[in-house]
Every structure is written in C-alpha cells, then in structure tokens.
Symmetry: C2
Subunit: 311 residues, 2 copies
C-alpha cells in the first residue's frame, strides 16, 4: 500500500531557487517544503551550503535544513561544495549530502573553481568526517557526476572519462554516484549506455539515481530510458524551475508534475497525490509571482477519468 516504486527527488528548493532572480522568503520556503512533503514527496533537496554572497537565495539553508529534518518520513538532501558544507549539513541534520563533480574539468573550474584532484581530496576529507559521526547522524554521501552527458564548454564528454571518475570517486569514499545531465545533452541510448558502463565499474547498487534536464525536450524520454535500466531515483523540479546557471544556454529541469504523471500512468507508484501537488504549485506560484512556471500537466490537466496507477 505504502511502497514506492520510484523515488521522485524534488530539487526545486535548491536547484530551482538558486537559478531564479527572486529570493523566496524563509517562511514561504518552509510552507512550500511542508506542502511538498505533505503531497507525498519523500526526498527534497532543500538547500546548498555555499557562501551566502554567492547564492543569497539559499542563505537560509541551515535554518531550512533544521526545519525540514523535523518533518516525518522526509529525506532531507543538501548540496555541499566541500568539507565545510558537509560539516554544516551534518550538524544541521541532513539525511543526504550531494557533492557535484564535473567530469568536464573546464566546467569544474567554472562551477566549483576546483580541479579534479582537489575534488578527489575533498571527497576523502568528507568521508573521514562522516566516519567520525555516530551512525544515526551520518548522512548518505552521494557524488553527482555533472556534465556526464556532454559539456557546453568542452562539447562531448567521453564515456570512459565518466566511468573512470566514478571509480575514483567511490575509491575516495563516496557512498554512491549519480549521473547528471547538467547541460541537457543526454539522449536515451546514451543514458542507457552510461548507466550500464558506470554500474559495471562501481556496482549496480552504487548508481541508483539520475538528474536529467529537459533543455532539448528529451527529459522524459531520457527518464524512460533510465527506468528501463532499473534506475529508482529521479530528480525533478516543481514547475521545472532551475537548471544550471553556469552552463550558458542550458536550463530546464524536468517538471515534477509531468514526471509524476508519466510514472503513475505507467503503473509505477510514487506515493504522490496530484491534488496536493497542485496545491504545492500554488504555494510556489504565490511565493514567486515574477517567475515563469513550466509544465504540460498543469496546463493541459489530467486525462478525463484518469486515476493514478489505475488508468
């Protein structure tokens, strides 16, 4: 009854909000996150521990993590760029931390101002910190392979570079790796190939999630390809807000509302209630009145007579 086939990981409060011009008020963020969790979303990336001057939209991350970690049955995920962020995240009560690692070194320098070697060292340092924590306070540690499907600065990114990075990151101490189509270059067959080759290198259970974009319209087709490879965690953003601000020309997260529709229509249980999801969208719309919201399902509506998981 309550089992979930696919974990929809909502990244709007982090990936979304960091990319929009408006700054959402802390109270609005809390109301939105509470509403998202109430709609049945089981994992939310709620913020990022980066310098406040860099991303003022996420300056309240500590308060938001502390708030969200009090919500029952919610996995609170946080982006961390370094050890400092990982310490802050674990102190605040995060359940999961994600360090972005750009397979394209050019993008890595532009996005995190770090070389690959520096990031490998950071992974080890973060792992040492995590190992010093009591198990109940230790967040799960994922390293996300950004630009895994191509880079707006370098062009094609070789699959062997992605696989080698994944192996090295696991050796340095990551609990798991993820694949991220930062630039919206991914295509369905590439998604399948890359999942297969990374899993061959690090093990099937060390790659369970993907972060795909809809920049070139292939977002849900790529999700379908990932599902066929037994991927069980899919990132998406309510109303499709966000993307990658450091990848020129690239934008467009997968829209949570459309993703949930596809999954439930295919008989895959997400545990998410559509009516409540639309209420969350209304909270978002009210809190960000000057931002454009996306999504096909919110515009076209659900099919006549549609029932989640039963149609």
């Amino acid at each position: 009854m309550n089992t979930t086939d696919i974990l929809v990981s909502e990244v709007g409060p982090r990936d979304g909000l960091q990319s929009v011009k408006s700054i959402m008020q802390t109270g609005d963020k809390k109301a939105w996150i509470r509403s998202l969790a109430g709609a049945g979303i089981k994992e939310i990336e709620v913020g990022s521990f980066v310098p406040k001057t860099l991303l003022p939209q996420l300056a309240d991350t500590q308060e938001i993590v502390e708030f969200a970690s009090q919500i029952e049955h919610l996995m609170v995920a946080v982006l961390v760029p370094n050890l400092y962020g990982a310490v802050a995240a674990s102190n605040a009560g995060a359940d999961k931390i994600t360090l972005p690692f750009s397979v394209s070194e050019t993008h890595s320098q532009a996005n995190l101002k770090r070389s690959h070697e520096q990031l490998f060292d950071e992974v080890s340092a973060i792992r040492s910190h995590l190992d010093s924590l009591p198990p109940s306070q230790r967040p799960h540690f994922e390293v996300s392979l950004s630009t895994a499907f191509g880079c707006t600065l370098e062009g094609a990114v070789s699959e062997s570079a992605v696989t080698r990075s994944a192996e090295r990151l696991m050796a340095q101490g990551a609990d798991e790796v993820g694949l991220s189509d930062t630039t919206g270059y991914a295509t369905p067959d590439q998604v399948k190939r890359l999942i297969q080759s990374v899993r061959r290198a690090v093990g099937h259970d060390k790659l369970t999630g993907v972060h795909l974009h809809n920049t070139r319209g292939l977002g849900l087709a790529n999700v379908l390809a990932a599902l066929e490879m037994d991927i069980t965690t899919i990132d998406s953003s309510m109303a499709g807000i966000g993307g990658c601000p450091f990848a020129p020309g690239a934008s467009g997260n997968i829209v949570t509302e459309d993703l949930v529709f596809m999954l439930e229509s295919m008989g895959l249980n997400t545990g998410i209630d559509f009516e409540k999801l639309f209420e969350s969208r209304a909270i978002l719309a009210a809190a960000l009145p000057n931002e454009e919201l996306f999504g096909f399902i919110p515009q076209a509506g659900l099919p006549l007579g549609w029932v989640a998981n039963e149609y």
Copy 2:
C-alpha cells in the same frame, strides 16, 4: 548512404495549418513544402480534401497536391474524410491517403459526423475506387485510428475496441492502419501494449506508423516506446503547430525539429539536414508571423560539437 531508418512524416501543412487562425497563402505553402522536401523530409501530409467552408486554410489542397506530386522522391500524403476526398486525392496525384477513424464513437460523430458503420462502408467504397485505378496512380490507403489512447469526451478507450476496429478496417479494405494519440493521453507502456495487440490482430507490417501528441509532455517518451516496438514512421509537425481542433483542451503535435534531434542522436538516420530544416522553419515563421512556434532545439540549439548520427 541514402537509406533512412525512420520516416519522419511531416504533417504541418495539413494538421498544423488547419489548426492555426491565419491562412497561409498558396505561394508560401509551396515554398515551405519545397523547402521541407529539400531538407530531406520524405513524406509530407500537404492538405485535406474537406469542404472549403469547413477549413478555409486548406481550400487550395488540390493545387498543393498537384504541385507537391512534381517534387522528386517525395511521398505526398493527403487526409480524406470520405470517398469524395479519396477520388479528388487520387485525381490530383497523391501517393498516400489517410482516412481518420475515431475509435471513440462520440469523437467520431463530433469530428467527422459519422458513425462507425458509416465509416466502415466508406472504407469499402474507397477501396473499390482505388482498385479501379491503374497501379501507378493508386495511392496507398491508411486508416488512422484516432483517439486510440483515450478520448477527451469519453475518457478511457479500451484496447480491445482499438484492436477490433483495426481488424474490421483491414477487412473493409484499408491497406494499413495507424495509431493516433489525438488527445495527448498516451503513455509509453500503453503505446507498446497497443502496438503489440493491434499487430497481433492485423499483422506486423500492417501497422508501421504512429501519430503522437505532446499535449502532456510525453510526446518523445512515447516515440521512444514506439521505436522500441520497431515502428518506422513517426508523424510530427514543424514548430509543433497544430493538434486536434475538435478535442477540447488537447493540442500540441510533436515538434519535427526535436524529433529529428532525438532520432539522429540515437544513431537513427532520418535523411534530414538540420541547417536546411531551420531554413524551412524560417519560411514558416515568415509566412505565419502571428502564430506561436514551439520547439526546444530551435530555442536551445544543437549541443556543442554535435554531428548528426555521429555524436
């Protein structure tokens, strides 16, 4: 070198133009169709033989069919609602005629003002006419199963109703049937199931094409599902113009530009040249200055370093 893995059937000049408010001038239509064919599109649905009062946008269909049939290597497709249209189409030199048959009888009455039995009779009458023609002048006769994936008036449409309709239409004299997601209700697993069950009923080679919509954002995911079932003809519309004017709330053909990008990125040859395709889009934009044009690839651009079929 010149083989095509997937036939992209451009429906913009018919399905697209009949749904927009503006009326494209005959000269512009000819320039657009010539340009589309020059970009490598091998099949174009150029018009519809319906009463001119009903669809003034397509009043020049006869002239357009005569024009297009002079273009080398182009399959000229025409929509026909009845025997009268089929005669006009074969007289004008069409290579393919498509009769729409709504599996939802409510939609059939609304769209064509015909019952199923009346349409079965029409199929027989059309077939008799076609059999009276010399082989070189006989167009291929497809019946498209509209609302096959659900109806905005009736809701769910049963798969057995679709399959039974397909069997009967073949028995009445169709050369082939197609599946059409008129309302944008289709989901990937449904696409696979329906293709399989219809083929079981009428034979694998009697269902080679699908017409899918992007109304709920699943257009390309549904294409991917169809490709996995070895479907070889995919309908789409340049800039995504069009949809079904008689299905309230439904709109949004698959965008040709995005479809070609997905196919070529997957190593599937379409024979279509992107640079020339964008030129065709510019002709469309100039001819319909007041209409909204859609598409992710035209907005985001091709990935850096992308080469068709080689990326």
